[in-house]
Symmetry: C2
Subunit: 159 residues, 2 copies
């Protein structure tokens, strides 16, 4: 995956956190994710397909998930409930949609956002699509965005 494809995702998440949640994200150094590395407690997952196929995982800890939901709904949930998973799914959709708009040449469509919960869950990418992982610091604790994207070539069938 080319590093230049990652920038639209970085600008999108920073902008969404700033404008929708009033929360400043501080970007840390991106790295290629090792296999079997657990995500945070709540992860939004959305698929991308078109001239590139990929997945975006937006993973955040309990405190960040509760605070982001509070910023969206003006009410703080007491636990990781369906309000939280809906909010994280919607944020994942908006972050991926913002990046997609900047990667027009891939003509990508978005799948539905799903949200994975459960302490210690691990989200694996295919071997040939090791994702770039971008950690961010925030007043709500760590937030991570993982993006794995493979360019499709006309000679290779998509499925």
């Amino acid at each position: 995956m080319k590093a230049e494809y990652i920038n639209p995702f970085i600008t999108s998440i920073i902008s969404v956190f700033d404008t929708m949640l009033g929360c400043e994200l501080k970007r840390e150094a991106p790295f290629v994710k090792d296999s079997h590395q657990p995500a945070h407690e709540v992860s939004g997952v959305i698929g991308l397909s078109g001239k590139a196929r990929g997945t975006v995982v937006f993973s955040l800890g309990r405190e960040a998930a509760l605070s982001a939901t509070e910023a969206m709904l003006d009410e703080r949930p007491t636990e990781i409930n369906s309000d939280v998973t809906d909010a994280v799914g919607e944020l994942t959709n908006i972050i991926a949609g913002g990046a997609k708009a900047q990667l027009e040449h891939f003509a990508m469509g978005l799948s539905l956002p799903n949200v994975v919960t459960g302490k210690g869950h691990v989200i694996e990418f295919p071997k040939d699509a090791a994702p770039i992982c971008i950690p961010f610091g925030s007043e709500w604790g760590p937030v991570v965005l993982e993006v794995g994207l493979i360019e499709q070539h006309a000679a290779v069938p998509q499925s």
Copy 2:
């Protein structure tokens, strides 16, 4: 989600298990999934986008995941390792690809398959896309396919 859209996924998974794994699946009654219902220990997740947006989740227990991997690699893994997650991701891709081919009018593309592991993980769908859940029995134990699909209308932007 219309029930007729589910049949291509059912015929696809039964055919993939039969021809690739030599394992007969016995279909049980489909139901609409309640929120917060845990999946089995290993779940393949793949996104669909196009004139319909959706997600396919292929979830199976430890024994079924190990046996399916053994059938594909001719060697039995001793634990849920990257061979298992690669095999489950590939199966998810083939199952979704087979169904996609039968739903040509949606002109759907597939995202990359991701595989979620971790006991007690839960995969939530968006509120407006409650998935149809199709359980199957097999000699390897239970296997579940969940499909949530929303038709896109031209007036509604996709993201």
